[in-house]
Symmetry: C2
Subunit: 413 residues, 2 copies
C-alpha cells in the first residue's frame, strides 16, 4: 500500500494498464517531487520516534532507537529516486520496506538491542546527475565531495549542479557524509532482481552474495564520410559498418567468457540517408562476476575492435574512453548468513537460491566499509527501469519478511 500511495502522490507517470497502480514513476533525484517524498518520509519516521540526520549529500538517516544506543545502528538502505522512465519498485521498495520494519517494531513495541536506521541514499540512479550510486559512494569515501557537488544535470534544459539542487530543495545537511563520522554497523538492502532468473526458476527469494564487476567505455569509431551511391565498397571507410561488426564481436567475446556485453547508446554523424557515416560513437557496458575475466573481456574487445577497424578501410580508427569501472563485490558472510537463515526458515530450501547481482546498488559502496548483503525478490519478465516493472504483492511481502528477520538476527548477533 505504501508503495502505491507514494507512487501516486509523488511522481506517477507512464501508464501501462487500467488499474491506478499500473503506472511507472518519474522522480528524478533532487527534483521537487523528490523533495516531497523526502519530507513525507521524514514525517513518517519521526512519528515512529526516529531521529533524523541529513548528510552533506542529502542522504537521510532515520534512526529508530534500541536498548543500547552507544553503538552504530544496523542500516536498511536503498533509494527513493527513479529513472525518468522508472517503475514503482526499483529502490523505493528497499526504503519503504525499511520503513515497514520500523512500523512493525513500533506496532509490536519491540525494542531492538541496537538502533536501526533506514537510509534514503541520494542519486542511486545517476539519471539526472550522471554518477550512479552517488551519495553512498561519498559516504564510503570512494568519491570526493567536490566531484559530486559539481556534477551537472543532463535532464534539465538549463543544467544545474548537485550542490545547487541540494540547497534549493533544502537537503544540504550538516552531517558529514563519511562512514567514519556517521558510522553504521551493517547494511541490508532489499531490491527487485531486475532480471529473469528467480522468476524463471520459480524462486521466491534471492540471497545476494555479491555483485558482478562492470566497466563502461565510450567507443569512438572514425571513418570517412562519402556518398553512398558513388563510393565503391573498396574505397569506403564506413564507420557504422565497422561499429556494427564490433557490436556483434563484443557479444561473441562475452559469450565465450561467460560475461555480458551491451551497447545502450549509439550516435552517428553526419546522419544523412545517402552519406556514409564518418563518425560513430557507442557505449560499451561489459560485465563479469570476476574482475580478472572482466579485464580480459575488455582487453579482447579492444584488440578485436582495433582489428576490425584496420580491416574496414584505410581511414578507419577506433578509440576507447573509460567512463567507469565497478569492481566485483563479495558481500559479508555474517550478513549473507542472516538473509540465508531467514529466507530458508520462511520459505524452505527449494524456494530460495544464492544469486549474484547483475546490477550495481548502494550496497556495493557500503560493502567496502561495513558488513553488507542484499535480498532480491522476482521481477516479472525481468523488466526494470520501465513503467511495467512489477512484483506481486505476495512477492513484495515475502521479501519484507526476510528483511525483517535478517535485521533482527543481525541485531541479535
Amino acid at each position: 500500500e505504501t508503495i502505491h500511495e507514494t507512487a501516486s502522490s509523488f511522481g506517477a507517470k507512464g501508464i501501462w494498464g487500467p488499474e491506478k497502480t499500473q503506472t511507472g514513476v518519474c522522480r528524478l533525484t533532487l527534483s521537487d517531487l523528490d523533495k516531497q517524498v523526502r519530507d513525507w518520509f521524514i514525517n513518517e519516521t519521526k512519528q515512529l520516534g526516529c531521529s533524523i540526520k541529513i548528510d552533506e549529500a542529502g542522504s537521510i538517516f532515520a534512526t529508530y532507537p534500541g536498548k543500547d544506543n552507544s553503538l552504530p545502528p544496523t542500516a536498511i538502505g536503498s533509494h527513493l529516486d527513479t529513472q525518468p522512465t522508472g517503475g514503482r519498485y526499483d529502490g523505493v521498495y528497499g526504503v519503504l520496506s525499511g520503513l515497514e520494519v520500523l512500523r512493525t517494531l513500533k506496532e509490536n513495541q519491540f525494542v531492538p538491542n541496537y538502533p536501526i536506521t533506514v537510509i534514503n541514499w541520494t542519486n542511486e540512479e545517476g539519471a539526472r546527475f550522471p554518477m550512479s550510486i552517488m551519495a553512498s559512494s561519498l559516504w564510503s569515501e570512494q568519491v570526493d565531495k567536490k566531484t559530486i557537488y559539481n556534477l551537472k544535470s543532463v535532464t534539465d534544459s538549463e543544467p544545474v549542479t548537485v550542490e545547487h539542487e541540494l540547497k534549493r530543495i533544502g537537503y544540504l545537511g550538516d552531517t558529514k557524509a563519511s562512514y567514519k563520522h556517521n558510522p553504521i554497523a551493517a547494511h541490508f538492502e532489499i531490491h527487485i532482481e531486475q532480471g529473469p532468473i528467480l522468476e524463471n526458476e520459480h524462486k521466491e527469494i534471492g540471497i545476494v552474495t555479491g555483485v558482478q564487476a562492470y566497466a563502461w567505455y565510450k567507443v569512438k569509431v572514425s571513418g570517412k564520410a562519402s556518398h553512398t551511391g558513388t563510393t565503391p565498397f573498396s574505397a569506403r571507410s564506413d564507420a557504422l559498418l565497422a561499429a556494427s561488426k564490433m557490436i556483434a564481436k563484443g557479444n561473441e567475446i562475452a559469450t565465450k567468457l561467460g560475461g555480458l556485453f551491451s551497447v545502450g547508446i549509439l550516435e552517428l554523424s553526419p546522419a544523412v540517408v545517402n552519406v556514409i557515416p564518418s563518425d560513430v560513437s557507442f557505449t560499451m557496458d561489459a560485465r563479469h562476476v570476476q574482475d580478472e575475466t572482466l579485464a580480459q573481456l575488455v582487453e579482447e574487445a579492444k584488440l578485436e575492435f582495433t582489428k576490425i577497424s584496420k580491416e574496414s578501410g584505410k581511414s578507419i580508427s577506433v578509440e576507447f574512453d573509460h567512463i567507469y569501472t565497478s569492481n566485483a563485490v563479495k558481500f559479508h558472510p555474517d550478513c549473507i548468513k542472516c538473509v540465508s537463515d531467514s529466507a530458508t526458515q520462511l520459505f524452505g530450501e527449494s524456494k530460495v537460491r544464492q544469486i549474484t547481482s547483475g546490477a550495481g546498488h548502494d550496497s556495493c559502496a557500503t560493502s567496502a566499509r561495513v558488513p553488507t548483503s542484499m535480498i532480491f525478490i522476482p521481477s516479472r519478465d525481468g523488466v526494470s527501469h520501465n513503467p511495467e516493472e512489477y512484483s506481486t504483492p505476495e512477492q513484495v511481502e515475502n521479501g519484507f519478511h526476510v528483511l525483517l528477520h535478517s535485521v533482527l538476527q543481525y541485531d541479535q548477533l
Copy 2:
C-alpha cells in the same frame, strides 16, 4: 572564377583550408541566399541576350537564341542549391558551365542553329525539402504539383512549404512545369563524379551512359528494453545487436550481387548506457546498375533481416517502410555519342572512360522525356556533400570544353 565568385558571395561556409576559395557552400533551396544567386544568374544571362522563363517550381530557363527559334532549345541543366554541408562544385558547376558556354558563344559571336537554354532546376538536393530531383521530376511529370507544393522544410525551426517559399522569394513562375508545355530538345549535364573512379584510374572525363537504380527503405527493428547487467543473453531481445548483424549482412549481400548497401542514419531508444535498446530504426540505401538485381538485393535483405530478427530473441521483429525507388536510367545514344566524340577528340582514348553514375541527378528526370546524357570530371578523393569537395581548375576547364563541344555537336545533329 565564376564558381569561386558565386561561392563567396552566396553562401560560403565550412572553412577547410587557408585560401579564401577553400570553404564549402551552404545554399539551401529557396532560401534568401538561393534567391540572391538566382537574381544574379538571371542578370548575367539577360546581359548575354537570353530570354528568361520561370516555371511553377521556380526552375529558371535562360534561353540564348539560335538561327531557328521555332524548335525547342538544347538544354544544359543542373542546380544551384547545395547540401547544408555542401561543397563548391556539386550542381553549381553544371549551371555555371552552361553560363560559360553562353558567354563563349557571345564572345565569339557564334550563333547556334537552334536556341540553347541553361536551366537551374529547383531543389535537386532534397536537403531542405525532403525530395531530391524535385523540380525536374515535376517537369517530367513523374510527381505532381500538389505533392511538391506541400513538402515541408526539415531544416527550419518553423517548417514552411515549398509553395510558401517560392512565393516568398518571388520565384513562383507562370510557366507550366511540364515537358509538354515547356519542351526542350535534349538535356546535357556536367557534374563532378562524387566518387573516386576517375581519379583512381587517372581519367579526365567520364562519359556517363546511365545511372544505377537505387531504393531507400526505413528498417525498424523492435525488441525489448531490459537491464544490461541483469538480463542474461538468453533472455534478451536486443534490437541493436540484431540491427548490427543486419547491417553486416546487407553489406555481404550487396558485395555478392555487385551492388551497394549503405546505412546513413540509425536511431535508437531508450538510449541509456545500461538499458538494452528496444527500438532501432535505420535507413537502407541499396543500389545496382540493373533494376532486377536491385530488386533481388532488396528481397534478399528482407529475407535475411527477418531471419536475423527471428534468431535474435523471441520478442524481436523487423519492418520495412519503402521511402523511394529510382529505376536504372540509360542515357540516349545520340547524346552519349556527342559527349564521347568530344571527349575523345579533346583528350584521347586513354584519358576518358564510360561510367555509370552512382548518384541520381536532374538528368534522370529529363531522360524519361528527352535525349539526355552527362559528363563527369574527377572529384578529389571521391568526396562530395562536404566542404572539402574539390576538382582542380584544369579538371573544371576540361569538363567545360567537353560540354561546349557536345552541345554544339548536338546542335549540328
